[in-house]
Structures are given as C-alpha cells and as structure tokens.
Amino acid sequence: MGGLIAKKLLTLIPVLLAVSLLTYLLLSLLPGDPALLVLGGGAASAEAIAAVRADLGLDQPLPVRYLAWLGDAVQGDLGMSYITRQEVTGAILERLPVTLELMGVSLVLALVVAVPLGVFSAYRSGGRFDRTVTGATFGLLALPNFIFALILIAAFSVGLGLFPATGWSRLSDGLGDNLRAVFLPALALSVSNIAVFTRLLRTDMIATLQEDHVLLARAKGLPTSRILFRHALRPSSFSLLTVAGLQVGTLLSGTVIIETIFALPGVGRLLFDAINSRDLLMVQGVVLLLAVTFVVVNFVVDVLYTFLDPRIRSGAARARA
C-alpha cells in the first residue's frame, strides 16, 4: 500500500515539471514587454528599458530564465510582482485559505446533494422522482454559475436578507459568520457539479442495482437503505470519484468568476486583478498553483481508488510480490 503510493508519487514529478514549463512558456509567449509595464507606458527611454530588463533578468535566454524561476519556485519563491512590488508567494498564501474553503465547501455541498439524489433516482428510475430530478439537473446544467450566483444574491441576500451579498469573514471571526459568507458562493459554484454528479451516479447506480450481489443482499432481507448505501453506492462511485477530481479544474476557474461576483479575497480574485493589470509574475504564480492543485487532487483521487476497491489493492500487492 505504502509502496504503491510512493510509486505513484514518483510519476508526479515529471508531470509537475511539464506543468511548470508550460505555465512559464505560455506567459513568455504573450505579447508585450514586462519592462514597459513596469515603467508605466511608452514614454520611457531605451536605456531605462534596458536597465529594467537587466534588473528583471529578462535579458537572459529563455531556458536560463525558466531554470532560475523553477529553482526559486521549488524553494517557494515565486518572485516579486512587477506592478505591486508584492511577494507573489506571500500574496497567494494570504488568499489561498479563502479559495480552498470555497472549493471544499462547494464540493462537499455538491456531493451531499447529489449522492442522495442520484441514489434515489436510480432506485426509482423512470419514476416521478427520477423524472423530476432528471429535468432539474438538465436545467441546472444549462444555467451558467454566474447567473445562478446573481439569482441567489437576489433571493437570499437582497430578498430574504439571510446571507451577505458580498464580502468575507474569516474563520477566526467566528464560525457562523464564516459559514454565512461562504454558503452562497459555494452553492453558486456547486450548481453544475450537483447536476453532473447526480447524473453520473444515477447511471452507474442503475447498472449496479442490476447486479446479482444486490439481489443477494435483498434475499438476505436487508433494509433498502442499507442495500443502497452500504452495498450499491461504493461500487457505483468510481466514475463519480474520477469526475469529482477532474471537476476541481472547473471549480478553480469557477472561483475566478464567483470570487469576483461575491467580492471574496481569494486566489481567483487575485488572478482576475493580476490579469487586468498585466501583472505577469502574479498570473504565472497563480496559474502554477492552480495547475499543481489540479495534479495533486487527481493524485489523491488515484490513491482513493485503492480504498474504494480492494481488488486494486491486492493487484498492487501481487505486482510487488
């Protein structure tokens, strides 16, 4: 088991290197000279530009620049913003908890809603409940999350006054306020995931419920809820797990919009502002973080498979023996 995880960890290294290289190249290929941005416009003299370029290391060839940047990045130093003169790493770390909480709560919300919906619509597939859920999920899929965010704000903040429309309160300011602040954005972010997870789980669950071992579980006289949740759910949740991991990518890009709408001080908002002010190093740092997060989450998903399915575990054991 430990060996299996170690082996998978090793395969992460080339993936992360490739991710960092792509991130770096992508932004180097963007038009525009960062030195000009630093100097604040077109009126700077050629000497001044050359001086800034030398100062930023932009006169070096690309591979050298990449290796230097990578060397610093590995040590946790993503450089200093040309524009705000802020440490990129520090700026990200300061805002990361907000985004992580937003994504985490959103994912949990999506699963908490989608799992029972998926399970029961599969159990009564073709019935009224199933048809209602199917219609609703298609509706949710068709709705972009920023529209949903605006609807939520209109209904719950402006209309009912239950949740703040914008702004953030940290966990240290009290759990209640923190959860009130995160609830609406997380819900808006989870809408498409609720729909996707429900559809996916329903399909796999219908297939599992046809299997002999479910019939045997019924023939044992077990209560339906036990059959559904203890016997059928686990073998039905492989695709759900895979897609939940992949959806983290969509969640990350979703946070950019949602954090902007709800004015949350998160990484998504940071990225949005950085792009607007052409703060390249900041964009680079955030994109790298997002890419690494995506890779790491999917690595965790890979490891979770082995907990979900004992056959994978012993397959690995046999391969080692």
Partner: protein, 373 residues
C-alpha cells in the same frame, strides 16, 4: 404404488410441523411487458414442496425456471412484472400479498437463495465477514462479536479452511468453489426453512460441482430444510431430489417422483432431455443427441403444444390445442402430452410420423429420432 396423495405429507418423515406442504405454488403466472410484447415467463405453474424434501426443477435456458425461482422468492421487482394470477403459499400464507417490508422478515430466516454465479453474487467491495454477519445481525439480533463467532462456524460447516482468516478477506481472494460455499453459508446463516438453489453449480468447474451438491444435500439433511434445486442438467437432480418438475416454455410439462420420472417418463421433451445426458455405459465419443430447434419465443407462443415444433410424436391435434396436465396410473405423475411416451397412443403417433417421414409440424423425422430408431 401406494396412493401417496391420500397418505398426506404428515405421515412421512420430515413433516412433523404441520399438515400441508411448506411451499405450495398454485397456478403461478409471471408476465413481463416488453417492447416485443407480453412475455409469459411463467405460465400457470403449480408445485409443492414438503418439509425436509427436495424438488428439482429442470429445463433449458429460457424455460422460465430462473424467473420461477425468483417469483417464488418474491424477489422480482414489483414494477417489473405485470400483475398476474397465482398464489405462492408459504406455510399457508400468500407471499404475493406481502409488501417488500413484510418480505424482509421472510428473506433469510424463512426463504433463502443460492445464485448461479458466485463470481457476481458476492459484493466485490465488502469483506466476506460482513456479508455473512449483516444477515445474522439483521434477523437474529446478534452483537458484532456473537455474529462473528457464528460466521466462523458457518464457514467451517460449509467446508472453508481457516474460516477466521476468511472473514477479513474480499471475494476476489477466493476461488469460484470457495465463493459458492460462502454464498451457501450466507443462505444458511439464518436457518431458512426453504432453500432455493438456482443452478448452483453451473458456473463451477466440474470437479467442484459434486462437492457443492453434496454440501447442499448434507446441510439440507442436518438442518431438516426443504430445497428447490433448479438446473438444466437432469444428471444433477437424478440422485438428489425427491421429485422433479420439467419445465418448458414457462410451463411444467412433466412432474413426478424422481424414480418414477427416470423409470417411466411420459413427455417427449423429458425423453429428449434424458437422451442428451452422457451415459457411462456408452463407449466414449458416442455422439450425444441434441434436441433440434429452439424453445419458442415466450412473447409469441404457439396456440398448440409448445414443444410440438421439436417433437417426434407431434400430431395435428398438438398444433391446435395445448394439452393440459394428465395423470395416469400414478397420481403424483403428471404430464402435459396427448401422445405420451411409452403409451400405445404415443407409440402409434411416433410410428405414424416415422412412416410419413415428417411430424405434423413438418419436421423431418430423421433429424428427430436418431436415438429411438
């Protein structure tokens, strides 16, 4: 022959608890509404199983025997089958009238089932131990520890070595034969009064088949359980049943005490099934007689006898009228045939077909009567 029906089941060993049979199925129909039409998977079947006795149900694929056993278990989803006639009386109570919730009291301690394929009938992601103990804890109200002790006993009684270790293992760590022993242990866990075994050995190696059948027979005797053994193989039921019902196209075509059936079968289909069993006294590489043709589509059943298109005795009457169940000298021997094997009417019908070279259904006799010629 003694008139068995008059003697009643109470006088036989194995029936101390009460008068009637443990299970009595009366005129059972199970119909499915499909895009192709209404499929009559079980079409008017009546069977009875006395306490401590074994009934064999024999038929080829698609004869309705699996649907019959699941109907008896009342395991078919209520929405899947159309409402249809028939009663399933278990200790004189009609199971069909029970709700799913009420049936849960029956599944396990009253009725239990062993499925065909042990590779698919155990949950691959749940440990063997929990798959056994959950039934025990549900029905017998045992604690975790007591249930585990009992699970070990059960595994030992079905012949699984090192049972303590198996509790923590997953199904894929066991061989097919071992897995079937586990499903039998699960079925036996709450000491059911009736065990339905649906082709319990079909998916297993030949060498393991006899072991599993012996295990079932031994457990049945020790526990004084009734059993319904469903199979496509007459050889399997020959020595292990008290009575055999032969199914064809959703109906019982012949039913008799096992010895009677093997001594004097009446239905041409039973005869054909017998001829398809390999016999030890035949020289090796003797060609087995397959039954030509295939069973009718259960959604488009013929008007007449359902076996007529494959039958060597088929006469014009067989194509117009589906025969009812007849009895002759022995009351417990029933058969659904106008021209039964081993009777003057049957012999005459076959000779007439042989002379004509074809049956009334237009089948060339040479394809049908290799063995009887």
């Amino acid at each position: 022959m003694t008139p068995i029906a008059a003697a009643g089941s109470a006088s036989r060993p194995g029936g101390p608890e009460g008068g009637g049979p443990l299970l009595e199925v009366r005129d059972l129909h199970t119909l499915f509404d499909t895009p192709r039409g209404i499929v009559r998977a079980v079409d008017g079947v009546s069977i009875a199983v006395d306490r401590g006795r074994t009934l064999g149900i024999v038929g080829e694929s698609g004869s309705g025997k699996t649907v019959l056993s699941r109907s008896v278990m009342n395991l078919l989803p209520k929405r899947a089958a159309l409402p249809a006639d028939g009663e399933i009386l278990f200790e004189e109570r009609d199971l069909r009238a029970l709700t799913n919730k009420q049936m849960r009291e029956y599944w396990g301690p009253q009725l239990a089932m062993v499925f065909q394929d042990p590779m698919t009938s155990l949950n691959p992601v749940v440990k063997i131990g929990r798959q056994i103990t959950e039934a025990l804890r549900e029905h017998l109200d045992l604690g975790r520890k007591e249930a585990q002790v009992q699970a070990v006993d059960l595994l030992r009684s079905v012949g699984i070595p090192a049972p303590e270790r198996r509790l923590a293992e997953y199904p894929h760590q066991l061989s097919g034969g071992m897995r079937q022993r586990v499903t039998i242990a699960i079925a036996l866990s709450c000491s059911p009064k009736l065990l339905l075994a649906d082709e319990p050995t079909t998916a297993l190696d030949v060498t393991v088949q006899a072991q599993i059948l012996d295990l079932l027979a031994r457990q049945q005797q020790e526990r004084h359980m009734s059993m319904v053994l469903v199979t496509h193989d007459l050889g399997v039921v020959a020595n292990r049943t008290d009575e055999i019902a032969v199914m064809y196209a959703g109906q019982i075509v012949e039913k008799a005490p096992t010895r009677t059936l093997f001594r004097s079968m009446r239905h041409p289909y039973t005869e054909a099934l017998m001829r398809s069993i390999p016999r030890i006294e035949n020289p090796s590489h003797t060609r087995l007689d397959a039954i030509p043709g295939r069973p009718p589509d259960l959604a488009k059943l013929p008007v007449g006898c359902r076996f007529a298109p494959r039958c060597a005795n088929a006469q014009p009457r067989c194509l117009e009228e589906n025969p009812p169940l007849f009895t002759d000298d022995e009351p417990r021997h029933e058969f659904r045939c106008f021209f039964p094997v081993g009777t003057p009417a049957g012999d005459e019908a076959r000779q007439r077909n042989a002379r004509a070279g074809r049956t009334a259904a237009g089948i060339d006799m040479s394809t049908l009567t290799k063995a009887s010629a």
